[in-house]
């Protein structure tokens, strides 16, 4: 009798044990997900509010806008120090969270998570398109983040010096214990160039409906920008051509509202891939009357040039930026668009003496910017230098508030353009002479304190 009862008890206990695993495998909350499938990884990369972000130093430390003395006084320390190219930047700022450093590294982390988890998914005949896309997209996002960060935190690329110039910590896995020292600028460029090149065969030639996702034209446009930045004009032109052969649409600005505060939807025809600058500088916000457009720049737009009314608004007769190629986003658009690729191509053509071809390319763009009720006189140049100057002027006007101005100044100064930037605050003058290392943002103190990486010589 007794043994019979004990047997029953053990039977119940063993039954309990056998279904234990199943019982404990129940997910504790519907609010969490273990990213495993290709669809899960796609959703990691589709978090554009986190991933499609770039640094914003290229706007504030350039010469596109200025702020008034009282606005400067009321600005936060980061804005003040960036605006005046402060030499003792970190000493004055302290251990302050800097989104320009943190957000691109978050993009790199997400890309690395996607790449790491993708290794566990087998590529098959049925899933290969999606599999390739995820790999290509993750490589693109990582490369774009790295390239963008070099423009803020590193010296302009100079072939002879890049091997000794500090670059960035190169992270190719999501492991949080794996802290990396800074690689050389040369190695950093090699790292993201390899990512871009690896992404080319993996991505589709068509621009996606959702313009936050990478595509083959996006890689080509990015490579055109990178090689232009490296002053390898031959390759910059080749990749501009590769991009334009796949996608070359321009928007006729006559179809765009000149009164709307948000003239362009995000998924507009020129947008190849949308990125926006991180927060951090109030003068970058298009919704407030803070950053006043440089009057020389504003006055350089012809009255028949629709960009003058579409890009800018005036408040108390001072010009301010409107919202750009990312719909209602208040921070500047910093992605890739066809207009930039046209200008890359035109610049390369001008540099190699193809004056007519260069002017044709610029004119093709300007025709779409001109008021159709006014007469458009195509621009002409008699020699290479003249053509180049026209292209560079148009580049500055077309790519205003795209975060490209400071990288362009740094690059052009290496070409001998001799551009000095100047600010006046409360009667005090601040200048940034050509090739001054204050055009490089120091590595944030929080990073130096936590990982001990080397600071950029200033």
């Amino acid at each position: 009798m007794k043994s019979y009862n004990l047997g029953l008890l053990f039977l119940i206990m063993i039954m309990g044990t056998s279904c234990e695993k199943k019982f404990l495998d129940k997910k504790p909350s519907t609010g969490i997900l273990l990213p495993q499938t290709l669809d899960d990884l796609q959703m990691i990369l589709d978090n554009y509010q986190y991933l499609n972000l770039t640094t914003c130093f290229g706007n504030i430390a350039a010469d596109e806008y200025y702020i008034k003395d009282d606005v400067f006084q009321a600005s936060n320390m980061l804005e003040q120090l960036s605006y005046t190219w402060e030499k003792d930047f970190n000493e004055k700022l302290g251990p302050y969270s800097i989104e320009s450093w943190e957000m691109p590294f978050r993009t790199i982390f997400y890309s690395n998570v996607a790449l790491e988890n993708l290794k566990k998914v087998e590529r098959t005949a049925t899933n290969q398109l999606k599999w390739d896309y995820i790999k290509g997209a993750a490589l693109f996002m990582r490369a774009y983040a790295y390239f963008d960060m070099t423009q803020t935190f590193c010296a302009a690329y100079d072939e002879g010096k890049a091997a000794t110039e500090p670059g960035l910590p190169l992270r190719s896995n999501p492991d949080i214990d794996d802290l990396q020292p800074r690689a050389s600028l040369q190695a950093t460029y090699q790292f993201f160039l390899q990512d871009f090149h690896e992404a080319i065969p993996l991505l589709a030639p068509a621009i996606p409906m959702v313009r936050t996702r990478p595509s083959k034209p996006a890689v080509f446009a990015a490579l055109s920008r990178v090689y232009l930045n490296m002053r390898n004009y031959e390759k910059a032109e080749a990749y501009a051509d590769s991009c334009l052969s796949l996608y070359h649409q321009l928007i006729d600005y006559n179809t765009i509202s000149t009164t709307s505060a948000t003239p362009f939807p995000r998924d507009n025809a020129e947008n190849i891939i949308a990125y926006k600058a991180v927060n951090g500088y109030s003068a970058n916000f298009s919704t407030s009357d803070v950053g006043i457009i440089d009057s020389n720049l504003y006055n350089s737009y012809d009255d028949a040039d629709l960009r003058k009314q579409i890009f800018f608004r005036t408040s108390n007769s001072l010009p301010y930026i409107k919202r750009g190629y990312w719909g209602t986003q208040a921070t500047p658009f910093s992605g890739l668009a066809t207009d930039e690729v046209y200008l890359n191509k035109a610049e390369c053509l001008a540099r190699r003496g193809e004056v007519t071809a260069a002017m044709d390319t610029v004119n093709a763009l300007l025709l779409k910017r001109w008021n159709k009720n006014a007469v458009f006189t195509p621009l002409t140049a008699t020699n290479s230098t003249e053509a180049l100057n026209i292209v560079l002027d148009e580049r500055r006007k077309e790519l205003v508030f795209r975060g490209q101005r400071l990288p362009d100044i740094k690059r052009l100064n290496l070409e001998g353009a001799n551009i000095t930037l100047k600010r006046v605050i409360n009667g005090q003058e601040f200048t940034l002479p050509p090739n001054d290392r204050r055009a490089i943002m120091p590595i944030p103190l929080l990073e130096i304190e936590a990982s001990g990486i080397e600071q950029t010589p200033r």
Binding site: K2, N5, L6, L9, I12, M13, G16, E20, F23, L24, D25, K26, K27, P28, S29, T30, G31, I32, L33, L34, P35, D40, M43, I44, D46, N47, Q49, Y50, A74, N76, K92, L93, G94, P95, S97, W101, F105, F109, N112, V113, N117, R171, P174, I176, L179, Q180, V210, T212, A261, T262, R266, D267, G327, T328, P444, L446, E447, E449, A450, I453
Partner: protein, 671 residues
Amino acid sequence: MELSTNLRFASSADRTTEDKYDSKYPYERVADAQGNALPVARDYAQSYKDTAGAGYLLDWNYYPLDERKPNRKNAYTDYQLNLGLSYKINSFLKWSINYQYTRNVQQIYSERGVDRYSTRKVINEFSQLNHTTGTVYRPFPLGAILSTSDINTTGHFGRTQLSFHHNTGWHGISAELGYEMRSTEYWNNSKTLYGYNASTASDIPVNHLVDYPQFVTGSTRNIPINSFQDGTSNRYLSYFSTFGYDFKGRYIFNASARSDASNIFGVKSNQKKVPLWSVGAGWMIHKERFYNISWLPTLELRITNGYLGNVDKTVSAVTAASAPLVGSDGVPFVIIQNPPNPALRWEKMNTWNIGLEFSTRNKIIAGTIEWFHKNGVDQIGSSPIAPQTGLLTFRGNTANFVGQGIDIVLNTKNIEGAFSWNTNFFFNLAKDKVTKYLLRQTSPRIYVSNNQQSPMEGKPVNALFSYPWAGLDNEGMPQGWLDGKITKDYSAITSNKDFSQLIYHGSGRPTISGGFRNTISYGAWELSTSIIYKMGYYFRRPVLKNSYLFSTTGVVYKSPDYAKRWQKPGDELITDVPAAIYPVTTNWESFYDYSSVTVEKGDHIRLQNIRLQFNPRLKGSVAKLMRSLVVSGMANNLGILWRANNKGLDPDNPRSYPDPISYSLNLVATF
């Protein structure tokens, strides 16, 4: 064989208003002399609200008095079923099995009509007004916003155990072996309808995927989707065993061991289990032959040592992401919530406990005194991490700490009889110290502002640090100390790496706490009062921040310090509140906010509650109807009797209104 069943059912409902009125300004008027509701300033300038809609939009004013009408109904239903079966196998072995089923249903019905400010405001914000024709297009439809939720919580609990009891005069042995399963499933189904009309139960569909221009800002946004479902599951399994032995009822030995497992996410099944064990011994001193203290008939000594493993369910060893979210472009995305952390391990805690229990004759004075010592290893905490990882903070095994303290409970019977008076006294002393912390901060800022997240080795887990304060200068600017000199170089103070220059005040949590309870009863009446005290700690009081004072974003400014601010040279001798300076410079605020002048002693004594109870002996037909009847009334949060700070602040709640006094009346009848 014994079979027991028990079924319980309970139901309750309440109605509340969802409006939480919080005055923006001191002495804000909410009613006129006749008691009619008055609008108060909210969100937008009055001149704007009055004219922006040119009379075509809904009333944009906020009348707090009109928002008091309840708009939210909560209905709760509880079921509980208990089944028990026990079988006596023989005189010393018993087998039992228990099962419990619980189900809790909560239904929330919230209807915010156009008589509510929040509804009118959101409809107006989405309105598109044609000023020439006066027509209004409303993508956010006119009518009420109805939100309903059905929340179901279902619980299962099962336990089976084999117990052994054997007593042979001198030796007593008892043991238990068992197995337990528990699951709680929570499911919430919420939905929101717009343009709702209660009389026809109809609503107006809206397009959530279109970004509509906003009336005020001109920017665009979509109508929020507030319909969702979510659920959680908590599952536990444990095996347990206990063993007890006593010799002559004088010497007692106990041991227990159990293994708990739960459905923690992202770990292998063998890591889901957490071991726990304890061993203890007791000595009934009063049963010894040599014991002859007649006024102290009970005296017992106990000692235990226990080990506890704990898994933090909020972290996981593998990458975990959020459930998919959908942006306004309709593309689903996820947020990574937990980075991969293959090194994650259990938190471990070892506890020593030595206790003495005693009572005088007839328990006139009875109580326990206990000493405990805790040693925690691999405690899970958050800490800042190098930003190159893509993260700013990281949760993982970061800290070791030790803690020890004393617990005293004393119960006295001061007067016994028809009129009786009892006192209960509680005293707790607890001190802790961080013995190891993985991350050493390089800036004092984190230690003064966020010590819970980055404790300092050698100091309590929650320590209060501040920058040394050196008064105001003759322009009303705060001054601090740096390297023995008075300075206004705030960024130098707030980034000074010499942490010995910080002022360490003490623990940010009470190190001494307890209570004092007196109960007087006479016949069916019983009156009790409860006083609690907290001592030996510090808190930081809110200060006058210029950035709040001049804020346009609606940070509510409520501080009596405004009247005490520095206004003219000489004021620095009588006040510590800096001048109101515009434009705001944030770096002196971050110094002043965390300076030593804003730290107060937290010690206080509070009258927690007074309770009056009537428990009559039931007679005659009433006694046939019900077994007992208890009527009681209670007043809670009666106020602070004494406090160490002279600012009139409640140390438990220094940054907002103190908890209001609450009254309750209870009637419990048992049939």
